[in-house]
């Protein structure tokens, strides 16, 4: 961490011409998801608690935006409001310029806890949203087959969720959320429960899907590297109250690959995120725990 802070890194705002050009074109695209001065208060024991305050955000078509922040910053509340599973106490939300509220398949969601329907096979899980939209059984089945193929699970289309690994379950969840053709795909720490190796695979997989599907992604995470690896822009929230602290345009060029993790742009972005999220950690020494020696003299492990 100290090597990061002292290294001679470029500013995270400096972009190569290609990246700058990409952002210019990105911002010319229509805005798909717009959040205007969104606020959310909860009634606590000692009066109202502000979980989110004055959140304004515009996400362009086929942009991949990550939301990151310390625990308790309200990032989960934010994505639940966008999904329509929670009501904002202030502000409004627009999809394709039209105000919207409540859950709707135009905003698909992938949850951290998989939430696959355990009584349905992989295929029937993916068909669920299509059937809810009133699509006939045969058509829905054909459509579902395509999505299952896209996430590479053809062999498992007749398996039940409990027979799949965590990574496979989350791929089914992504296919299920994408099948009804949402404008926005919301992902709430979807890879948080996976082991490091599977998570890296899933990130690469997600970018692959995003490249091939016309969908805009809002992705919640607490993993800094995940945010930089995936995002066009990173929204950094701060806690108490949950407000937008900064929106970072990730200068790492696309297409992304794992080798970029040690590139100067990546490290500069990471340094900036660390400054924002753990501001005091660099200089404040760790609190010393009041330990009493409970081993014999000379019996040392370090």
């Amino acid at each position: 961490m100290t090597s990061l802070a002292t290294a001679n890194l470029p500013d995270h705002r400096s972009q190569s011409p290609e990246v700058a050009e990409r952002f210019r074109r990105l911002k010319e695209r229509p805005v798909v998801l717009e959040v205007e001065q969104l606020g959310r208060q909860f009634n606590g024991q000692n009066g109202p608690i502000t979980a989110l305050h004055d959140i304004s955000l515009r996400v362009h078509r086929r942009e991949l935006v990550c939301v990151i922040g310390p625990s308790g910053c309200g990032k989960s509340t934010l994505i639940r409001i966008v999904a329509g599973l929670d009501e904002p106490t202030a502000g409004r939300m627009l999809v394709d310029g039209k105000e919207t509220r409540g859950p709707c398949p135009e905003r698909g969601m992938v949850f951290q806890g998989y939430t696959l329907f355990p009584w349905l096979t992989v295929k029937r899980n993916v068909m669920f949203g299509l059937e809810m939209a009133g699509m006939g059984r045969d058509l829905a089945e054909a459509e579902a087959r395509l999505w299952i193929q896209l996430v590479g699970l053809n062999k498992f289309s007749d398996s039940f969720p409990h027979q799949l690994s965590g990574g496979m379950k989350q791929r089914v969840a992504i296919a299920r959320a994408l099948a009804p053709n949402p404008r926005v795909l919301l992902m709430d720490e979807p890879f948080g429960a996976l082991d490091a190796q599977t998570r890296a695979q899933m990130q690469a997989h997600l970018l692959e899907i995003w490249r091939n599907v016309d969908v805009t992604i809002l992705f919640i995470t607490h993993d800094l590297d995940e945010a930089i690896f995936l995002a066009d822009r990173i929204v950094v929230l701060k806690a108490h109250p949950g407000e937008i602290q900064e929106i970072i345009e990730v200068p790492v060029p696309r297409p992304r690959n794992l080798a970029q993790v040690s590139s100067p742009e990546f490290l500069a972005t990471r340094r900036r995120l660390e400054e924002l999220i753990h501001p005091r950690e660099a200089n404040a020494p760790m609190e010393k725990l009041p330990f009493i020696r409970m081993t014999n003299v000379g019996d040392d492990v370090e």
Binding site: P103, G108, M109, T115, W119, M132, F160, P180
Partner: protein, 348 residues
């Protein structure tokens, strides 16, 4: 394989040990019963008179208290008469296992004593009909109402307090009322079963449905499910396995109401058979009939468990001991009955 640790909490047993314990749980009471029946110095508080000797009122086969027998014999001995002889015996209400085992056969083959009485199998059929009609009527209303209570708080607040109240009224208390309203034949009996099952059923089903996973509801909402679809396509399927197991347990409860239900109005079914046989002092038939009820109950439950495994492939219901046992029995594996020398260990 390592030695089985019997008392580690939550420890699964090897299948051989499990089967052995299952058999033992039936064998232990049977052994206790056999000891009391066949070992003359255990209990046996009476004497069955063999030859009456000079005791005037003794007859062959008479059962008398041991103290009375000794007293009468001492009187005869004092008068210099022939002593009465006999063997220690149990009271007539405790027949020996073999007598009950024989009754299983004879009870079905003995024609009824009175002309209008029913054969045992007819009595059983009547009882089973009463149970299943009562349970079906209760379920037709109770299951949907329970699901609505579990899913929608207003329905729950409207229905559950009064159901909770009525639940504490013992079903047999409605017996006289049921006869007054429904007559003396089958209808009031079915009504008692319905009353005994319904109120518990609504509460049990509602509680199960309330335990549904809210995350699945949210997932379905983001996929465009509307309220009706949420109930029928998410809430109900998500707890269908638990509901099925609830129904199995509730069917067991319905059986416990059978006996009180059948003495309402004209006594009928297996209860009538039991009472009648007790009147004739054929206690082995009484035991046989009671055990048959147990066998029917357990058999139904195990059959339903087996059916459940095929209905819900995504989740095992409570594993059926009997089905597992029969499966092993037919494949001749792991059954203690076929003791074979232990082969080379297959698991390490």
């Amino acid at each position: 394989m390592s030695r089985t640790r019997w008392f580690a909490i939550g420890q699964q047993l090897a299948s051989r040990a499990r089967v052995a314990l299952t058999l033992l749980s039936f064998l232990l009471p049977l052994i206790a019963w056999s000891l009391v029946s066949y070992v003359p110095w255990i209990w046996h508080p009476l004497i069955r008179v063999g030859s009456p000797g000079d005791v005037a009122w003794f007859k062959q086969g008479l059962l008398v208290d041991r103290a009375v027998f000794a007293e009468e014999n001492s009187k005869v001995a004092a008068a210099g008469g022939r002593l009465s002889e006999g063997v220690r015996a149990n009271p007539i209400f405790l027949p020996a296992p073999h007598a009950v085992a024989k009754a299983f056969y004879t009870a079905f083959h003995t024609p009824p004593i009175l002309r209008d009485e029913l054969w045992l199998h007819q009595s059983l059929a009547l009882s089973i009909k009463t149970i299943f009609l009562g349970f079906a009527i209760s379920s037709v209303v109770g299951v949907p109402l329970g699901i609505l209570c579990g899913a929608y708080t207003p329905v729950s607040r409207l229905a559950e307090p009064v159901i909770d109240f009525v639940r504490y009224m013992p079903a047999p208390a409605f017996g006289a009322l049921a006869v007054a309203v429904l007559g003396i034949y089958d209808a009031p009996k079915i009504a008692i079963i319905v009353i005994g099952t319904f109120f518990q059923q609504v509460l049990v089903i509602a509680n199960t449905v309330r335990r549904h996973d809210p995350a699945l509801i949210e997932a379905a909402q983001t996929l465009g499910a509307r309220p009706r679809q949420l109930l029928l396509r998410v809430v109900v399927p998500s707890c269908i396995v638990d509901l099925y197991n609830d129904q199995r347990i509730l069917l067991g409860w319905a059986w416990t109401y059978l006996i009180v239900a059948e003495i309402v109005g004209v006594s009928s079914g297996i209860t009538f058979f039991i009472n009648q046989q007790a009147k004739y002092r054929n206690f082995e038939n009484v035991y046989a009939a009671i055990i048959i009820i147990g066998i029917i109950g357990l058999g139904t439950d195990q059959a339903l468990s087996l059916v459940g495994q095929h209905l819900f492939p995504w989740r095992q219901t409570r594993p059926s001991q009997l089905a597992a046992f029969l499966g092993r029995l037919f494949s001749m594996r792991n059954v203690p009955v076929f003791f074979r020398p232990p082969g080379p260990p297959t698991e390490s």
